[in-house]
């Protein structure tokens, strides 16, 4: 079967960091994704599973409230009945969602209007979080942050031919990308403010090493967020993409 767009899935690397001083990067983490739909307006949240038996897993959501404070709440799933994050209250943005264990159903975090999903967590996965979720600018100079994600070709048979990773949208114009030297790598960098070795960052399309992204293979994508001195607060998104051809 040909590779279709939904076969190409973005995942986090094994080690993310929202603090300075910890290693960043590593191999692919297929349990957690870096993409979701940020809240368009301040709202309350709830979580629900498609399987009635999902009653033991906990779900923790971390966000910022309307005052900018980091707040979180942990709830226990109650199957197909939605659970409200009542203590969390109205949040301005979601930063992270993490389950204690995989579920039997598709788990959806959504706004309490019941119509707007933040993200669906497929069976076998454990959560999602924002890249660069707690970076700050400095009064004494520009700051660069680095994070690593992967694009995986989940098609069971075919390669994505002449694969390229692209920047699909960068509204804040603060992020560039660069690819790992080989597919399925596990490279790290010392901490989130140290550039990974051998990676060239740009805003242009980057060719996947080896030309094609084989069935089941994943390419590491390093992201660089550059904040100027006293950079104004950013509430934005970044959309990475991968393109190619298929048989």
């Amino acid at each position: 079967m040909s590779v279709v767009a939904s076969d190409l899935v973005a995942y986090h690397a094994a080690t993310q960091s929202d603090v300075d001083g910890s290693t960043v990067g590593g191999a692919i983490d297929t349990l957690r994704r870096p993409d979701f739909t940020q809240l368009a307006a301040n709202d309350t949240l709830e979580v629900v599973s498609s399987a009635a038996g999902d009653t033991t897993q906990t779900v923790t959501v971390e966000g910022r409230d309307s005052q900018g404070r980091i707040v979180s709440q942990t709830v226990t799933l109650t199957g197909t009945t939605a659970v409200a994050f009542g203590t969390l209250g109205t949040v301005e943005r979601v930063l992270k969602c993490e389950m204690s264990a995989t579920a039997a159903g598709t788990v959806t975090l959504r706004r309490s209007d019941h119509t707007t999903a933040v993200r669906a967590i497929p069976i076998g996965e454990r959560g999602f979080s924002m890249v660069f979720r707690k970076g700050t600018s400095s009064t004494s100079g520009a700051v660069d942050y680095y994070a690593k994600v992967f694009w995986k070709n989940t098609n069971g048979a075919n390669a994505l031919l002449s694969a390229q990773v692209i920047e699909s949208a960068d509204p804040s114009a603060t992020i560039t990308h660069g690819l790992a030297a080989s597919v399925n790598d596990s490279g790290t960098t010392t901490n989130r403010q140290t550039a990974p070795g051998g990676v060239t960052f740009a805003g242009t399309a980057a060719n996947v090493p080896g030309t094609d992204l084989a069935s089941g293979a994943a390419i590491g994508v390093w992201l660089n967020m550059h904040l100027a001195t006293n950079n104004a607060a950013i509430r934005s998104t970044y959309t990475s993409g991968i393109q190619g051809s298929t048989t």
Binding site: L31, A51, K96, E98, T106, G124
Partner: protein, 136 residues
């Protein structure tokens, strides 16, 4: 047991904890599960726990290896696909909605061909999603 809340506020059922350390006397099984989940997600840190409490905390969190095995099994059995397709639809609808907000000369604005491709992908995946059984 004693926990440290690492955020400005952490909620667990009817309990609301401000940032900082909190002593909890005789935590219920349910609260232990919530503390385990909160600690796993980086919202709280367990400062002190009895052996029995620690055992209960550990038992609640699936290891990374067990999670990866569950992921592989879900992909192999096809149960992973519903959530993946559902998320694809959510994501594409969001990208197209964002595009609708952009002026014609905005650098993120999709050109006509790319937009038509995204709309086509959305239609195809929506049809696949509708044909996929919701996992229960």
């Amino acid at each position: 047991m004693k926990i440290e809340v690492l955020h400005s506020l952490w909620g667990a059922d009817e309990h609301v904890f401000e940032g900082g350390e909190h002593e909890i006397l005789k935590p219920s099984k349910r609260l232990l599960a919530l503390i385990a989940g909160g600690a796993h997600a980086g919202a709280v840190r367990v400062v002190d726990a009895t052996a029995a409490e620690q055992k209960a905390l550990d038992s609640h969190i699936q290891t990374q290896d067990a999670g990866e095995a569950a992921y592989a099994a879900a992909v192999a059995k096809g149960r992973w696909h519903h959530g993946n397709l559902l998320q694809f639809v959510i994501d594409r609808e969001d990208r197209l909605a964002y595009d609708d907000t952009l002026k014609h000369n905005h650098p993120d604005r999709l050109d006509r061909v790319v937009r038509m491709r995204l709309e086509h992908e959305l239609r195809v995946v929506k049809a696949r999603l509708e044909a996929t059984e919701v996992p229960t």
